[in-house]
């Protein structure tokens, strides 16, 4: 199994901590002027979803988490599990609600997501950075208002709520950045 030195710590690195696979969110190098250097890291436990803070002595080594990230097609949800398919092998995987977390609100059938497997079990689902989703509900569009000022909430077909410009109408397809949850623009087609 690969080990990583604290020098290699960065956001997204997957390591083992207390027997659980974890993903580093933030890594801060801290050092008293003439003292021991430390890496103070924010880590997400990928099994529980909990975010914790830990401090390591710099230059210590930590075991990497044996996880693989695969692009998979989202198939459907049965309410309890969300089902994905690996497009090359057609192998199917069922992810729990905990693995989905915030990703749930962006999932549309046939979208490609990044699924992290640990011991062949999906523990994390990340949506594409940008998704195209239709507006299911919003206040009527204000014609001619393209100033971009103000805004209103719109509920998308997946249930996500984003802030959109006043001129957007029900049925329009929007491009949304899933990392910030922000409206980017109208779909070109």
């Amino acid at each position: 199994m690969a080990t990583y030195s604290t020098n290699e710590f960065k956001g997204g690195l997957k390591i083992m901590l207390d027997g659980d696979p974890c993903s580093i969110i933030e890594n801060e190098f801290v050092k008293p002027g003439k003292g021991q250097a430390f890496n103070r890291v924010k880590i997400r436990n990928l099994k529980t979803g909990r975010v914790i803070e830990r401090t390591f002595k710099s230059n210590e080594s930590v075991e990497g988490a044996d996880v693989i990230e695969l692009d998979m097609e989202y198939l459907y949800s049965d309410g309890e599990f969300w089902h994905f398919m690996e497009p090359k092998t057609f192998e199917q995987f069922a992810a729990s609600e905990a693995a989905l977390g915030e990703a749930k609100q962006w999932l549309k059938e046939q979208n490609t997501c990044t699924v992290t497997l640990w011991n062949n079990d999906p523990i994390l689902v990340e949506p594409p950075n940008f998704v195209f989703l239709a507006v299911a509900d919003t206040d009527p569009g204000v014609r001619g208002d393209t100033s971009g000022g103000g805004g209103k909430p719109a509920t998308l077909e997946t249930g996500a709520v984003v802030r959109v410009p006043l001129f957007i109408d029900i049925g329009e397809v929007l491009k949304v950045d899933t990392r910030s949850g922000e409206y980017v623009g109208r779909s070109k087609d």
Binding site: P32, A37, T55
Partner: protein, 324 residues
């Protein structure tokens, strides 16, 4: 490696910030010219290296020789040789190198402003540091007063323990009560003290003032004079603003025998930690035997001063090109 045509070649500091950096260097030179402190330059390359186990020197070899050289971690030894040679008070703006130091406040290559005042004790030097900081960062630091606290004071105040007598168990429970989760196989006294200082104490220092912490534990003396007494302390200080360490100073150790002993102890600690021993700077020790005048010296991180001046929270925003 990215494709050459998409490599980002642009500086990480704006040209405006670089202009203000040039102004800061000019202000530093004027400050010392007004005080008859001589600007000097010393080599960055040395065949000796820093023995301190928490500092890691970058080493170099050439393609035509087996000889190894090191990039200095500070210009301290060479500057003290000049003091012994009769330079009087001196300052230097030096590029220094420390492997493995990288973060929002660290780059492996950075700029130190280091100066030595012959005949100053460390309290006089602390006063001069405050004067210089107020000149260089007038808007932020001009209105701030200096606050002086001993190392023992800050531990009592912010951690609630007597650091002089605290055992490993006391330090560990202080960590737990401040909700710090430390991942380590074994707990070392010195490491826990550094952990509490950097995680609990330091963020509180220099919030509304310029905090000077002084009189350090003897095991953190480094190159400072140790004042004997019932509770000996190292006559060392550090200066903090907004929770960031800006510099470190000493009343300088002048005893060559004691200095050699500290270098050798450092190297023994290195070997215990699985680090290579470093070649001891014999020319520096020879100079100390010749006689270093009573003096105090300090080094400030110029990049961090720049960060305060322009109000940014990442060191790469005040240097033209950080390391990849």
């Amino acid at each position: 490696m990215e494709r050459p045509e998409v490599m980002n070649w642009k500086p990480t500091a704006s040209i405006e910030v670089l202009r203000r950096r040039a102004q800061m260097l000019a202000d530093v030179r004027r400050f010392f010219a007004d005080r008859d402190v001589l600007e000097i330059e010393t080599p960055t390359l040395s065949s000796a290296a820093n023995t301190d186990p928490v500092l890691h020197s970058l080493s170099l070899t050439s393609d035509d020789s087996k000889k190894q050289f090191y990039l200095h971690t500070s210009p301290e030894h060479a500057m003290k040789r000049l003091l012994v040679a009769g330079s009087g008070s001196i300052f230097q703006i030096a590029r220094v190198y420390r492997a493995g130091e990288r973060g929002r406040f660290h780059q492996p290559e950075f700029s130190l402003l280091e100066w030595y005042r012959v005949g100053f004790d460390y309290h006089q030097l602390m006063a001069e540091v405050v004067e210089l900081l107020q000149l260089l960062v007038p808007e932020l630091l001009g209105p701030r007063a200096a606050l002086k606290m001993t190392y023992a004071d800050v531990f009592r105040r912010y951690v609630g323990i007597d650091v002089g007598s605290a055992a490993v168990a006391d330090l560990a429970s202080a960590l737990a009560s401040h909700d710090i989760q430390f991942v380590a196989d074994e707990l070392d006294h010195r490491v826990l003290v550094d952990l509490l200082f950097s995680h609990v104490v330091q963020p509180q220092l220099g919030r509304d003032d310029i905090t000077l912490v002084y009189d350090y534990p003897v095991d953190q003396a480094s190159l400072a004079f140790v004042r004997a007494g019932s509770e000996p302390v190292a006559e060392r200080f550090e200066v903090f603003v907004d929770g960031v360490e800006l510099g470190n100073g000493y009343r300088e150790l002048t005893d060559a025998i004691e200095q050699r002993h500290r270098f050798e102890t450092d190297n023994q600690r290195r070997l215990l930690q699985g680090l290579p021993a470093m070649p001891i700077d014999e020319a520096f020790l020879a100079a100390l035997r010749h006689g270093l005048p009573e003096c105090s010296g300090v080094a400030l991180g110029l990049d961090r001063l720049m960060m305060l001046l322009v109000g940014v929270d990442d060191i790469t925003q005040v240097i033209s090109f950080p390391i990849d």
